[in-house]
């Protein structure tokens, strides 16, 4: 359940995005959902989606449609760190397969799953536009390039350590 305090926070977020009244036609929906998703650490609770629908005056079904169409959104709870692995050809031909294997092994989960400690969610993504330093992954908003098995392990371990402290 989303608390009243959280609902207030959502209200603030939406009001922050919709500054110009003339824009409150629903075209800022995607921007709003991004902000809300950041607020809740990588997912949009359904109650929050309902609130957005009410505030922007669009049907709930439209909000749900958008949430489920775009791969970056999730209505399911995800880990604090969403790891997006580029699954495009430049990364594939430069060793992306190994990176995927290492990540799956290291996190103990498959694509679209969350690690048992609840910290990481593993996802696929289209080209991240960093093909010059492939293979590449994106963890929340940070990018990591020129990856090798060792580098991936190092990155994951570093995050785990930071979380422990």
């Amino acid at each position: 359940m989303v608390s009243d305090k959280e609902l207030q926070a959502i209200e603030q977020i939406v009001n922050g995005v919709v500054t110009d009244e003339s824009l409150a036609e629903g075209d800022v929906l995607i921007n709003c959902l991004h902000e809300i998703q950041n607020h809740f650490h990588n997912f949009v609770p359904l109650e929050a989606a309902e609130k957005v629908a009410e505030m922007l005056n669009v049907p709930q079904s439209s909000v749900y449609e958008v949430l489920t169409f775009y791969t970056m959104f999730s209505v399911e709870k995800r880990g604090k760190y969403v790891i997006r692995v580029c699954n495009s050809l430049p990364c594939h031909v430069t060793g992306g397969k190994e990176i995927v294997e290492t990540l799956k092994k290291e996190l103990g989960c498959d694509f679209s799953q969350t690690s048992t400690d609840g910290l990481f969610t593993l996802e696929k993504t289209g080209c991240l536009g960093l093909c010059g330093v492939s293979p590449v992954i994106m963890i929340n908003e940070e990018f990591y390039g020129n990856l090798t098995r060792d580098k991936v392990q190092e990155i994951i371990n570093k995050i785990r350590e930071e979380e422990r402290d």
Partner: protein, 599 residues
């Protein structure tokens, strides 16, 4: 005010950031502080310098010396050696591919740099993208000023003479798009920028947005004036947070100087821009899907016609161009259409930005005149294929394009020649593949992409691609049957003929193209159950050469499924029944005793 004697440019393009630019910048700032160099050293974070493979990159002026593959320790050393003592740090210079000497200023002697003609990327790696003053100092906003003194028809005529064509894919004449939108009656029109770059292997738009956002903003204002629109949208993918940040800052700064907003430069023309974010849907790169997404809906393509020029955002006439196309416009206006059209080929004028990715030595971003041959791109600019391997093919046009094998390396590149070869310019991504790449696997990979990214609206694309993917999976697993190739071709053609949007119409293209040039590989998979490139796991085996194995046990220890047996100092053996073909053993064997065979 003291004048800095050294300016240090550090590349803050996406590639360099992800390979450690931030910690190098911190080290640089620390070193400047340590040696009290504030007054003589100016540090500038620039956009992409192009050579991503050599990142993080740093350039020291006035000499213009490039340093590559930096670590924080290197940076400290360069400050203490180069800046303080005037000694060049040799081992961090770029290698010069044409001589044994290292290269200091690559614009003098390094083909990756000297072969380029920069128009769309003219300011990248030179200016600080977060400072509008630097853009203005490089002739920025002069084109807008000039445009405001011209009639809209004159601007469009100038574009017509220049011969500029859309850089996003199909190569539609830019002037015609502008002219059509201008002529549609209506007070309310929109200028749109498609910054939803999603083609695998293409990252020029990202680099322009991050490295020189004002070149886009200026061009969009010009477009607004030319077609009679006062408002524009930039639709950008959420995967590019840095580009979004820099665009927002750019718009803010331009507004502060009166170059955007109400009554631009004292004229009666007003123009404003808003940014709309995507959320991870490749199909939104298709213009009508993009418009749906801007309106806050699912990004599903609309039926065309009506084209966006008539019915676009909110049902109003809308002009849509991609980032690179816009970035070409200011120089065309300031330097003249004739200058622009003097570059390139008969049908394709100007330059094209290509992104070199995959199996090529110098990965990164280059802008070259249209008509350059593939061979020049691969071997002169790209530095050839790494590890002494052979060039096999290059994929252009992303999942909508096709591959070009080595027989056509001497083809001059333009819109028409690529089309004749069964591929397309697309946005300019070039993915290089060497002899270790299996073309059936590549086709499968692209199809997998198209299946995931299909919006689901049309049956042929949604289900047809899935069936094609299943057939390819069957083939790469060694279960291919006689007639599969023909079935793939037939189904592919049906999908192309019956899908609504560009994504569906072109999605089977990688399969058709690889069949065209590498039919023998398909046949080897189907008839001989053999993968010539030794990539498809079900068709390969790992074996140990008893002559070379010394019994060090390294492979057996690393094998995750205990498929390797053998006593210490005895020849080891791999049990193919258990082996998962993960390749761990081959990496740890120091004696080169393990190899892959197919079948």
């Amino acid at each position: 005010m003291p004048v800095a004697t050294n300016t240090i440019l550090i590349c803050a393009g996406g590639g360099c950031i992800s390979s450690g630019e931030e910690s190098c910048l911190q080290a640089l700032e620390k070193a400047v502080e340590k040696y009290a160099l504030h007054d003589v050293v100016k540090i500038v974070e620039t956009g992409c310098m192009g050579m991503c493979d050599a990142g993080p990159l740093m350039v020291i002026y006035p000499e213009g010396v490039y340093y590559q593959k930096l670590t924080p320790e290197d940076v400290e050393k360069i400050v203490s050696e180069h800046i303080l003592k005037g000694r060049i740090v040799e081992d961090k210079l770029l290698d010069n591919p044409v001589s044994s000497l290292k290269t200091q200023n690559p614009y003098d002697d390094h083909p990756f740099f000297t072969r380029q003609v920069k128009i769309a990327t003219r300011n990248m790696g030179i200016v600080d993208p977060m400072k509008i003053e630097e853009y203005i100092a490089h002739d920025g906003y002069f084109a807008l000023q000039k445009a405001l003194s011209m009639k809209p028809e004159e601007i469009i005529e100038e574009l017509k003479v220049s011969g500029l064509r859309g850089r996003g894919g199909a190569g539609f004449p830019t002037w015609l798009k502008w002219d059509l939108t201008r002529k549609v009656p209506g007070d309310e029109k929109y200028v749109l920028c498609n910054a939803d770059e999603g083609d695998p292997g293409a990252f020029m738009d990202r680099s322009i947005l991050e490295g020189d956002p004002h070149s886009l903003l200026e061009a969009m204002a010009i477009a607004g004036y030319a077609i009679g629109a006062n408002k524009g949208y930039i639709y950008i993918r959420a995967e590019y947070p840095l580009a979004i940040e820099r665009l927002k800052e750019g718009i803010k700064q331009a507004k502060e100087l009166g170059l955007f907003g109400e009554n631009i430069m004292g004229s009666d023309f007003s123009f404003d821009l808003e940014i709309r974010m995507g959320a991870g849907a490749f199909v939104c790169g298709e213009e009508t899907a993009l418009i749906e997404s801007i309106e806050g809906k699912r990004g599903q393509p609309r039926v065309k016609p009506p084209f966006p020029a008539q019915v676009g955002v909110w049902g109003k006439p809308t002009l849509n161009n991609n980032v690179e196309t816009y970035a070409n416009i200011p120089p065309i206006l300031t330097k003249g259409a004739k200058w622009f059209s003097s570059i390139g080929t008969e049908t394709s004028k100007g330059t094209k930005v290509f992104c070199l990715a995959g199996k090529v030595k110098n990965t990164g971003l280059v802008e070259v005149p249209m008509g350059i041959t593939l061979r020049e791109v691969v071997y002169d600019i790209g530095g050839g294929i790494p590890d002494g391997k052979e060039f096999k093919a290059v994929q252009t046009g992303g999942p909508s394009g096709g591959c070009i094998p080595k027989e056509y390396l001497d083809t001059p590149i333009d819109y028409e020649t690529l089309k004749e070869l069964g591929t397309m310019m697309g946005s300019g991504g070039m993915i290089f593949m060497d002899e270790d790449t299996c073309m059936v696997d590549v086709a499968k990979y692209f199809l997998d992409f198209s299946v995931e990214e299909s919006c689901g609206k049309c049956l042929p694309c949604r289900e047809g691609n899935r069936v094609m993917l299943e057939m390819l999976e069957k083939i790469t697993e060694g279960n291919g049957e006689e007639g599969d190739i023909e079935r793939l071709e037939k189904l592919g053609k049906n999908i192309m003929d019956t899908s609504l949007c560009g994504l569906g119409q072109s999605s089977p293209q990688p399969v058709i193209s690889t069949i065209r040039y590498f039919r023998d590989e398909y046949e080897a998979h189907i008839n001989e159950k053999r993968c010539p490139a030794k990539v498809c796991k079900p068709l390969i085996r790992y074996i140990i050469d008893p002559e070379k194995c010394v019994g060090c046990t390294a492979c057996a220890r690393v094998c995750p499924v205990s498929a390797i047996s053998g006593e210490v100092k005895q020849v080891h053996e791999i049990d193919s029944e258990i082996c998962t073909r993960c390749g761990s053993c081959i990496q740890v064997c120091r004696f080169g005793a393990i190899s892959i065979v197919s079948p």
